[in-house]
């Protein structure tokens, strides 16, 4: 096991931190969704992560992979909307990618994030620039992979990924949406941050928060 490798408790703390920040930020996410969507993104994610917190209170899965898979399937079962299947698939694919390893290296995590992105794109077929969560997730995956290839420890790699996700989310502001509800607005979708990209940044920032504790 490499220095700084991540165990199940770490991932559980991550999920807990996501749940906490989604609770705090749900009004902001909903406001973003009101501007170019249907004003439910914050409530959707909050419902999902509240359900996850309850599920995890019962049984704590014993590998990171199993944990993320449970998170993914709970999201699929509880959230609905576009974000339910997309986030659900992301976590499920990440979990599957981690297999039954009990510790996760930076390289493993980069692969898991890549699997998450692949899942989202397979399902939603959004490319970068379409003003979706992909615009936050894809740069995060690239930053993470680069850091891992350069032999960085998970902490540092996660920091790079979080920064990239935040920048990616911000970069959605001038974009015109080509996927999801916001695409119906056409040019009027320009000038607003995509709610799904914003929540993806939040998920990666939560990861950074936990790794720097």
């Amino acid at each position: 096991m490499g220095a700084g490798d991540l165990d199940t408790a770490f991932f559980a703390a991550w999920i807990e931190e996501i749940a906490r920040t989604v609770g705090v930020e749900k009004e902001r996410l909903t406001r973003l969704d009101a501007a170019i969507g249907d004003a439910d993104h914050g409530a959707n994610l909050d419902r999902g992560f509240t359900a996850i917190t309850q599920a995890l209170a019962g049984t704590e899965p014993d590998t990171p992979g199993a944990l993320l898979a449970l998170v993914g399937s709970t999201l699929i079962r509880k959230v609905g909307g576009a974000s339910g299947p997309l986030y659900g698939t992301a976590f499920r694919e990440a979990g599957k990618c981690l297999g039954d390893a009990s510790e996760v290296s930076a390289t493993d995590l980069a692969a898991a994030l890549q699997a998450a992105l692949d899942g989202v794109q397979r399902l939603g077929s959004a490319a970068e620039g379409d003003k979706t969560m992909v615009d936050a997730l894809a740069p995060a995956v690239r930053a993470m992979s680069r850091a891992a290839q350069e032999g960085k420890e998970p902490g540092e790699a996660i920091g790079a990924a979080a920064s990239a996700a935040l920048a990616g989310a911000e970069a959605t502001v001038p974009m015109q949406a080509r996927k999801g509800r916001a695409s119906y607005l056409g040019p009027r979708s320009v000038g607003h941050e995509d709610p799904g990209a914003a929540s993806t940044a939040l998920v990666l920032v939560a990861l950074r928060t936990v790794v720097t504790r």
Binding site: T30, R31, A34, A35, I36, G37, D38, A39, D40, G42, A43, N44, R47, I76, R77, K78, V79, G80, G81, A82, S83, G84, P85, L86, L123, G124, R178, K179, G180, R181, S183, Y184, L185, G186, R188
Partner: protein
């Protein structure tokens, strides 16, 4: 925000309790958010399942019953339901002849129904899907998620429901559902935004001198903001958009649908203009609906849906239906 609710989180289950209390012909699973016919599946009949976010009432739960849906899966307000609901509903209504999923074309609805259909198939329930995408306000191009499903959903549910009632096989029910969608076009106009319980305030601001043109049914802004005008001009804008996409002619099934907060008297004013417009094109509304059918909570505004009829569709439209939201012939 003032709403006749007990709490933001209990709106859907509370409404489902009310639905159950008001309609003994329905069986309502409040916990799992599934509304079914109390009579259960009819052996040999194709089961019709639809669903979508809540806030569009009477769509979909109000259209469960003889001659229309077998089950509806209401999601949270404006949020598509989850696959679990759809799977449970599909299994519950399967009479052995398979199940048709009627899906409005929104990324969320499509993804969740797709997942459900896959899992149904794994569990041996034959499922077909029809995608409703009638809203001409949205360009159907590579650069959007495709057209939205709006008013035509009711037409698809009614006509496919009548076909299923005849004992027709799944392929046949699917064919007629697709035909209705292919022949239907809609366009919506908002005079005010709606307020979702979660957001607590109107989803957009609109001046007294403005309207939103080309809205969907989720309280989102439309394709364009425009100056408020009279009913005649607003109807012409809607009908021109429809006519440009599919020139109107002959006999049509026409719905002037209220978005939830517009008084019925105004919808009749709009229908008069639609009727005149059609006459001007040598077409007519051979069948019609005027009322609040596919709504966006308390939004003020209307949509028009036009479906070009043929003999088969007319016959199926006229067939008996007995649901909380649509009833005739029994």
């Amino acid at each position: 925000m003032k709403k006749l609710i007990n709490g933001v989180d209990s709106v859907v289950p509370d409404a489902l309790r009310g639905l159950a209390a008001a309609h003994p012909g329905l069986r309502v699973d409040v916990d799992n958010q599934i509304v079914m016919r109390a009579s259960g599946p009819r052996p040999g009949k194709v089961g019709l399942v639809s669903g979508g976010g809540s806030g569009h009432e009477p769509l979909h739960a109000g259209f469960v019953g003889y001659g229309m849906l077998d089950a509806a899966c209401p999601g949270e307000i404006f949020t598509s339901p989850v696959p679990d609901q759809m799977i449970a509903a599909s299994e519950a209504v399967n009479g052995g002849a398979g199940v048709l999923h009627i899906v409005k074309n929104y990324t969320g609805d499509v993804l969740n129904f797709e997942m459900a259909a896959e899992l149904c198939a794994e569990e041996g329930v034959e499922v077909a899907s029809v995608l409703v995408d009638d809203d001409v306000a949205v360009q159907d191009s590579l650069y959007t998620a495709g057209r939205r499903g709006t008013g035509a959903t009711l037409f698809v549910e009614k006509i496919a429901g009548a076909m299923a009632e005849t004992g027709a096989p799944l392929a046949e029910v699917t064919r007629v559902a697709e035909a209705v969608d292919a022949r239907s076009r809609s366009f919506g106009v908002a005079l005010s935004a709606c307020t979702t319980p979660a957001a607590g305030k109107p989803t957009f601001d609109l001046k007294d001198t403005e309207v939103e043109l080309g809205i969907g049914i989720h309280g989102e802004p439309g394709r364009a903001r425009s100056a408020m005008r009279g009913a005649r001009e607003l109807v012409h804008t809607a009908m021109d958009a429809i006519d440009e996409d599919m020139p109107v002619s002959g006999d049509n099934l026409v719905m002037v649908n209220g978005m939830g907060g517009t008084p019925l008297i105004e919808l009749y004013v709009a229908f008069a203009e639609v009727s005149d417009y059609l006459a001007g094109k040598g077409a007519r509304a051979a069948r019609s609906l005027v009322g609040n059918y596919v709504t966006s909570l308390d939004m003020q505004g209307f949509s028009v849906t036009v479906c070009r009829l043929d003999d088969e569709l007319t016959r199926l439209w006229d067939a008996p239906v007995e649901t909380p939201g649509l009833r005739w012939g029994r």
